[in-house]
Symmetry: D3
Subunit: 136 residues, 6 copies
């Protein structure tokens, strides 16, 4: 039987939603106050959901310590207390919406897990705004 396990983590970052191909008026029309040139920020919560067989020797899909450390090295070290637009290569040319942050986190983590696992990432920008992707 397959089981899905989840580890939840957090990072706090600044960002700005802005499309450089558009003028300021169009950016304001689409992104509103999220287009503040001086940035604003969020406490992001990330949930990493991994599906696989339970190892009968350990009773685990994956050691949650390993999952925790991978989230730290791949996500927290990269994005925590950073300005997503200025401090990261991932969002140099990609608008850091919740959707795109979610996809980037999925890609960064997908590269680290054996292909036998299915992976889903859920990202909370606020308690009320959430994005989720599973690679499909």
């Amino acid at each position: 039987m397959k089981v899905t396990v989840c580890r939840k983590s957090h990072f706090n970052a600044a960002h700005r939603l802005y499309n450089p191909k558009w003028d300021m008026a169009q950016n304001d029309a689409v992104f509103g106050k999220c287009n503040n040139p001086n940035f604003h920020g969020h406490n992001y919560t990330i949930e990493v959901w991994l599906t696989g067989e339970v190892d009968p020797e350990t009773g685990m899909v994956i050691d949650l310590k390993i999952l925790k450390e991978l989230i730290e090295s791949e996500i927290e070290d990269r994005f925590d207390h950073k300005n997503l637009n200025l401090d990261t290569v991932e969002f140099k040319n990609l608008i850091p919406t919740a959707e795109n942050i979610c996809i980037v986190c999925w890609q960064l983590l997908r590269a680290k897990f054996d292909s036998k696992f299915q992976l889903k990432v859920r990202l909370y920008e606020t308690e009320r705004n959430i994005a989720e992707c599973d690679g499909n």
Copy 2:
């Protein structure tokens, strides 16, 4: 790659669970104290989950402001601070269980979104009682 986004909202309403085809004894047996003729009420939380492609120009599946406003006009304006049994056409002839409220919200929202989006609605009647539907 497809992404699912979610917007969470709230409405507070009174309701009563009661099947007019049954006598009071049978209503009491099935619905218990939810069959109080004077009504009781809940803080309902609704989560609207929408799946679609990310627009590369905006980095968004859908502008969450639009999603927020649709939930306000379709759900909150209709149900917030209302008596679901007495004040709404949707529950004139439909028992306002969490399941039926969830289906009605799904139908109201489905009519407003382009068919390219998949839609799932989750409704919390309390922290412990939840209903969810996606149209299947």
Copy 3:
């Protein structure tokens, strides 16, 4: 040393904010949509905080089972799945605002506890609207 213990509980009820001495226009001006004549409702959360000496024999200020049962008999049995305006004597002539519900709960519980305990009651009408009283 004194310790304060808390037990949290819930009840779901319908209510209407309405002052019978005023006409409908004034009630609407003051209470807005909370003055719906057909009622609306909430999931109320109540926290009961009790301060006293720790009994060295039990390590307890009060047995939380006793506290839990008192909340059930005094608060839940009285208000859960009720219409506060129609089904209770407490709010026959008292507007069931969060403030007044909080005071009534405090009074009902105060009568049941030994005077050696200090009592504080906190009432959540929603996650965002809270009332608290301690008898002062």
Copy 4:
């Protein structure tokens, strides 16, 4: 249309992660401080998700009172305030990881529900560590 309903519950238990086929050094390497011979414990939260057709007579997939009582008799009475390793037959020869507790709960509940329902169980060992299974 099918709807999924959920009922959430809790139990508090002690456990130890330990594989009797391994020596202490290997158990420590794999399970770390979860291998404390004197046990540690958790507040487990269980969510039971049931999918089925809505009965037009009741507006319900299943009476949530029945669901609540089944969780009490099958899960809470068995595991609440217990030592999972010492007090239960289920974990005599099975390591009580979140994954295995989730599978056991799913099996115990699956046996009690009509096969027309789909069943998913989610188990929170902490707010940050979660397991989920649906029988596939």
Copy 5:
């Protein structure tokens, strides 16, 4: 009898902790990664607690709509989706720690409420880091 009421609200902002009288090494030593020159950010939650007599005509300490609107005009309009260091006069010469943001919010709100009310402000920078002040 006096009652305390609370209204909860949110704002999302960028900030940097930095003392201009110190060199970069000392700022790093004291503020660590909070001294990122490109800023980071948070979802701030503010709770405004107001203590006063219950008006027997309304059953209210204060109309929570008024409290909500004051928080919007005094706090949200000023700080939401802003860079606290660059976009506000309040933090031009004041380090925007949770403590100082809490004091500033208290002062802004204190000026708007009648002196008959006691005021307490609680500010959550994250779920785990909180500041609170009441003017004493």
Copy 6:
């Protein structure tokens, strides 16, 4: 102006409520299923609230990193993944109720903070059972 800051943390532990001066019948009568000889357990949440003057140089009452590390060394290292009755000196001869755990945590932390700070500790045994003490 004084400000109160709070840091929240967690530890997971096993315990048993049992007074060795009483026979089993009396222990069962008082402590019920909490007197399971094989122990049960909880996810404890601890909130440490510290009141003091804000240092104008740092904008802080206390560096929350220091507070976090003190909670780790004094509380988490001592109690996390432990059996409170068997693995700790603090509860060798003291019943590990929420009240007593709260007092012990307060005493352990009080010894580490300058007397210019006021200290309050809140301990959640479950979401519904809470103890709090401030040394008075």
